[in-house]
C-alpha cells in the first residue's frame, strides 16, 4: 500500500492532552476509534473536515497536527 504523503502527531497530542484515548478522540471528532487508529498509523487519509476537527480538539492549527512529508 502506498504511504500517505503526510505524517501526523495525533498520538503525541493525545498523550499530551491527558492521555486521551483513540475512542475519546473519535467521539469528539465524530468517527470510530478504528478510524482514528487508521489515521494515526498513516493508513487512511481523513477528509479536510475531520482533519480540522481533530486539530480543533487539540486547539492547534492544522499544520501542527498534519505535516506534509512528500515532495
Amino acid at each position: 500500500m502506498p504511504r500517505l504523503p503526510f505524517d501526523n502527531d495525533i498520538k503525541t497530542l493525545r498523550f499530551l492532552s491527558g492521555e486521551m484515548t483513540q475512542g475519546d478522540l473519535g467521539d469528539r471528532v465524530g468517527v470510530t476509534r478504528q478510524t482514528i487508529a487508521a489515521i494515526e498509523q498513516g493508513k487512511y487519509s481523513p477528509s479536510l473536515e475531520v482533519a480540522f476537527r481533530i486539530a480543533r480538539v487539540f486547539d492547534k492549527p492544522l499544520e501542527e497536527v498534519f505535516r506534509w512529508a512528500g515532495d
Binding site: M1, G30, V31, T32
Partner: protein, 140 residues
Amino acid sequence: MSFREKIHWVAFVGLVAGFGWYFLSYPWATANTRSGMLTSVWMLFPTTIIFLVPMIAGSAYFAIRTPKEANLKEDEREKLIHLKGTHAAYYPLVLGVWANIFAMINGLMYGWSVNILMATLVLSELVRVGAQLYYYRRGY
C-alpha cells in the same frame, strides 16, 4: 475489530455456509427442467434460514456486547469502504448477467437461469463483503 467488521465476517460465513450448502446439494441433472427450477425455489427456504439465523444471532450478540459501537453511524472511512466494496461487486454482477444472457440464447432455461442468477448474486455479495473485510483490515 469494529462492530461493522464483525457483522461483515458473520455475513461472509453465513453466505458461504448457506449458499455453499445450496450449490453442493442442488440436483444439477434436473437443472434444465421446470422441476429443477421449482427445486431451486424450495431450496431457497433452508438456504435463507442458514444464512439469516447466524446473521441475526451474530448481530444481536455483538450489539449486546458493544451497544455503543452498534449505535454509531457509519463514519467517512466506513462509507468509503462500503463504496469500494460495492464497486468491486459490480464486475462479477455484470459477468453473471452476461453469462445468463448467453445461457438463455443457447437454449438453457428455468433452473439454469435461476442458478446462474443466484450464483451471480452470491459471488457478487462475496466479492463485496470480502473486499470490505480486506479494506477494514488494511485501514481503508
